[in-house]
Symmetry: D2
Subunit: 422 residues, 4 copies
């Protein structure tokens, strides 16, 4: 019963958080979808609610009547097993339901979930609720990155004034990087514990790693400007073939949100609108292709996802990071740092040179949850760590984020590594 | 001075009318652009205002400061001569300026226009203001058709509750059609008068017409259902080559807004949402290709734009239509009818089999106005008449509307004709 | 019987001519389709043969067995009524049947046609044969323009060495243009006679023309270079809206086949490969959009198709052109000129500012022939005259050629006109 | 000197082999490119020759004059460092150079290479020549698969009559599959030796593998027909998300080259044209998506590339395959089998569930060779083994083939595996 109680508390916290994140928006901001990847904020609010309605309420409450049958069609994201859905590209074409109607939908579903949880339910249902909350937290990160895209691609460059416990600006780097060594041997990777985690982190298994060194700092804007100044976007030899095509076809010349104005680079920031770039901040909003080209330009490379995980699990911890709960549940605190001398992990998601593929012995869940992670294991690259937009309890050493290599609207960045023998 | 006074009155009426038409909307409805042709209502409100700001205020008031320089970029539609503009397809990606900000922009510009007109201005400026008002009225028709598209393509099928002086439902046909004869000879066509008209109606000129007969009724939904039932959408021989490609590629099976539900056709109507089709109402929301295929199926044809103009000018008038001001300024009243026995002109725009091309001796205006009509004289077909969404003082016998042959979101319909000799 | 005999003679002449035109080709040249509009020469040879097989032999010979059933699929161009066909874009993907197999197909069908014609056949069949021969002659023109495209878009720029009775180079202009006047009145246009003509030329009818003047010279390369030098391709105000989009999207900077090498323009010519442009030759391989923009730049305009027909019928003839058979069958001789002082008609097809639409009282033929011209009456512009690639007996004052306004691979050019009153 | 001599022998053998493979073709077959992936055979012949000219002759012979400067443009495939090149999609648009001209180009370059090799050259140059020969052998495999595509997509289904030492038909399976066990532990993978290999196989390194079992047989046509009959192409739950999109968008219903005729499946075969499928032959011409879906349908999975390599290196060898030279240079003989009781390795390339990524410590070569493999390490999946079209000395246990997951025109197939613990 203890778990159910604490989940109920978490339920209301998480659900309230989504609303809180939208507080600075105008009604109009909730509606638009300026590119296919970016969903309208009201769609996020509806979709996360529909997840609870269709996966918790509908299957577990007798004669449950949907709030509105058509919301199944409107708010389903990609679950083929849960019926037809509006094409993703059309989410921004729907003015109805209005924001107020979506908020009312949230209230009604929240009430129903709370009533449903006033009686003891099975562990399986609690698992599903926990998944639903983690799902909503993932959408909270998307809410922030999608709002940034919506406002940052508006010619008026409005800013987003959030009374917020944590800065949405990345912190600045303050010292020279050190390259820390990881010796060659077999390591354990993947999730090992009893707390919440996604199926794609399962299960703990061995990998052999060759010796390598990795930087304890992220690549900064200043370094990235040097890369641009060295005509890197014009030099095919720095790019993967698909990356070079992407650069040419989209006429890419700098990170997303950067603007060259009178020979200086500005970037759109959520909290302050258009600003001169901060040279010491980690570069962000870059594609895998750009991360990879930057590393090649530096004659170094990106880490694999397992190198990253071993590095963060073992080394960062040993360096006396303030990671009290790290060993228990794989979580770490993204704001921890040792005497201010190391770059934060958690400012930006770090592209790895690992394709998103199943772990040995991976068991795809049945039903709708089987569509959550498994069906995307193709043509995507793994990102590790977390960003300034990631909910605080999602920083898990085994967490696997994944996106297509050309995506840039998440807070993505670069950590360098090299092989000791080179 | 009389003209300036009456224009000032018209100015406030027309400007108020645009706001009135949006009254039934939710804020969210103002924002979306579900297809490239359909602009967000707030864009229409901003664009029509920008037209006055950039063509009247800016060139004629010394040191005039734009309300917001970026509005030039946001609210320019297609005027290359007036600078850069947001790509049409991105109008629905802009959440800002908000609806309230656009309404404030309207108020400020209206005040400035009224102050500007408190002193006597030249005839050229009055001409431009008159053009601006006719332009806004054209956008009022687009507002209605765009709102219909926005609401009619939402899975919730909301209706539009306008306290309105004129039904947005087409009227029903009540008698059998008569085919009226027009004898072969030279006729005058094109605008001849001193009142407002567009440059593309100039100037009056002769055309020789062969003898033909035209229907005094529009094609009805009932007749169109017969066309569908006769498998017309599957029979290539009824279609122009480009039309057949369009049918195949878009899997067209019925007019826009029609839904086949349990073997009956329903159509989305603005004022009543989804309704069974009224068999006696004129069919509407069909492409030129469909109009042309229907005529071929009937072994008849569409009228040319000149046949249409001669027919409406001469015959409808002679049939004692209540068209008191017809001879003076080429206007006719779309609701006029003789003893309820003839089909209305003005329920739907009538596709003609004439390409939109310049008249003999056409003089393209200089500057931005030269872009108003002239540059579109290619790949479009002429429509004549007007529709239930057309402002009441835009029914002009010489008025030339034009759209690409595949467009369907305007209220478009079919009138049949045949050659006497056949 | 006289007609049947002379048709038989013409049959073998026309059929032989197609082979003759291909004589300079390598086997490889017969196969490729470098753009959708351009068909492989072996496809032309097969298609024109299939026309006789499917429209003459199959319907009129009992138990006729197709040479190869699959050739129906391979060699049908666009006749929906004659069954399925390979997609146009795939014509160049077929290495088989080989050139030799296609030549054998031609021989067998020719034998069968000649046997079939050894007995008297009906006038309807003779009409069809005449159509088939005119069809093949149209494809002879396409053969030349398609071969030019195939060779002219090869980086090796091979030339085409034809022992040929008529130059495929346009002739050079030698005097200043005169603008000849046509008075306002009703004129007869359209075909009136008993000889071969296409259904789209029917039937003779009246049109009223306002007074205008037209140039007796075609626009030259030299004038077109001035147009380019005046930055015309960068000036939106000279272009139709669709034309401006076409220029931007395709980065158009000069006519097709032109190359700017060391600041001089060269053009690929069929008989001599890459050559410096001849300043006095008529400009060719330009789109309607370019013709229209050029005219606007000159503050003149293109002729309508009826103005062109009246001009050629009446004025050119009066100027004592050597047009002996002109009055009888609407034909004129393209090489005729008066004391070398007038520009040839017939060097290039002349874009008119008329959309390709049916004439008053047009009757679409039944069956496959109804698809020959009628279904293309949309989104195309009329060209009049003929070109250096046109068979000598296809120069008919009433002949209506038609292409989409962006097409450039035919020999197309510009004749200017203006309104007398301007 | 011994190596140089033997390379010269190999040079003339390999070069002759390419010509031999084209012997059954008609001239027309050399020219076409029916889809972007498939190059015209004459392009392969020219490109492999250009490789020797531009990488051996030009850099190593003083004042070397290119055979034809434009061939650099025409026959460069994807080497940015070697200058501009014709767009891949346009290879089939070039009728020139003709086949005879390409053959002449080969002869001249071959003479020059032989003269060049008549003097002793450095090991680096010999390495490059060896690479050029392996490159040409890779194109020999492409020649076969591209010829199959060209002939197999022609409606006449011509067959390819090669006097050939090895069947291009896959062999049939004759026994039930056994699932062989591989125990969990660290293994060595990657190339370790002194013979020719590609940079992407370097270098030998450890991997830890969990215990698994793999089938000693490939999936057969019969099994694949059962998969189809179980409506697998309609069941989203069997597919990766990108795979499901690919199936829907391309309306995929069976392997490439399969035709459903009167309820039986036929496949186009190179040597015999259209044939009823052989139920016992390994299924081929399937995408990674299909391989993956098939495995999921069987509740099994594909091997990773390292599992595959360990399996072939260790188990197949132990089963007393006739692999005499296996330990020396990683090669195995694809036709070897033990008493006819095991499925061949080498009938079809086997899709693995490994993305194509660099090995630990990978060093990208400098210059043009750095573009050979390295720049393609994104969005491709690894295939292992070899096929009936692979040159006999290319069967190397460490060989890494790679293609995008939707590609099907290579001879690709399926081997199943499962985790012991499941």
């Amino acid at each position: 019963m203890e778990r159910q109680d604490s989940l109920l508390v978490k339920y209301s916290q998480v659900r309230a958080r989504s609303i809180e994140l939208c507080a600075p928006l105008q009604v109009e901001d909730y509606v638009v979808q300026p590119t296919e990847d970016v969903s309208p904020p009201k769609w996020h609010l509806g979709h996360t609610t529909w997840f609870f309605e269709s996966l918790i309420l509908k299957p577990n409450i007798k004669k449950y009547q949907y709030y509105n049958e058509k919301y199944n069609y409107i708010f389903n994201s990609y679950y083929e097993s849960l019926g037809e859905r509006i094409m993703r590209v059309n989410r921004g074409n729907l003015s109805r339901p209005t924001v107020n109607e979506v908020l009312h939908y949230r209230e009604v579903i929240d009430e129903n979930v709370e009533i449903f949880l006033s009686n003891t339910v099975s562990d399986e249902i609690l698992d599903l609720i926990e998944t639903g909350l983690n799902h909503e937290q993932q959408h909270q990160e998307l809410l922030i990155t999608d709002i940034k895209y919506i406002l940052g691609h508006n010619p008026l460059f409005p800013s987003y004034k959030l009374e917020y416990d944590k800065s949405l600006d990345r912190l600045a780097k303050i010292v020279e990087p050190h390259y820390l060594k990881v010796p060659a041997k077999n390591y354990q990777v993947g999730y090992n514990g009893d707390d919440f985690h996604f199926d794609n982190e399962e299960s703990e298994h061995q990998v052999y790693l060759s010796e390598f060194r990795f930087s304890d700092m992220l690549v900064t804007n200043k370094e990235y400007v040097e890369f641009i100044a060295d005509k890197a976007y014009k030099r095919f030899e720095l790019w993967l073939s698909d990356g070079w095509d992407w650069v040419q076809k989209n006429n890419i010349k700098s990170p997303l949100y950067w603007h060259l104005i009178d020979k200086s680079f500005y970037e759109y920031t959520l909290t302050n609108g258009l600003q001169k770039i901060n040279p010491d901040a980690p570069v962000t909003h870059i594609s895998f292709y750009e991360a990879d080209a930057f590393a090649r330009w530096k004659k170094q490379r990106l880490l694999t996802e397992f190198e990253w995980e071993v590095a963060v699990k073992k080394y960062i911890m040993e360096l006396d990071y303030n990671l009290s709960n790290f060993q228990d549940n794989n979580l770490f605190h993204p704001l921890a740092r040792k005497e201010s001398s190391y770059q934060l992990i958690g400012d930006v998601w770090e592209w790895t040179n690992s394709a998103y593929l199943p772990y040995p012995g991976y068991n795809q869940p049945q039903g709708a949850l089987g569509e959550y992670n498994a069906k995307f294991m193709m043509n995507q690259m793994v990102l590790r760590g977390g960003s300034c937009a990631t909910p605080i309890d999602h920083f898990r050493a085994s967490y696997r984020n994944f996106f297509q290599p050309e995506k840039r609207w998440q807070f993505t960045g670069i950590r360098l590594a090299y092989d000791e023998s080179n």
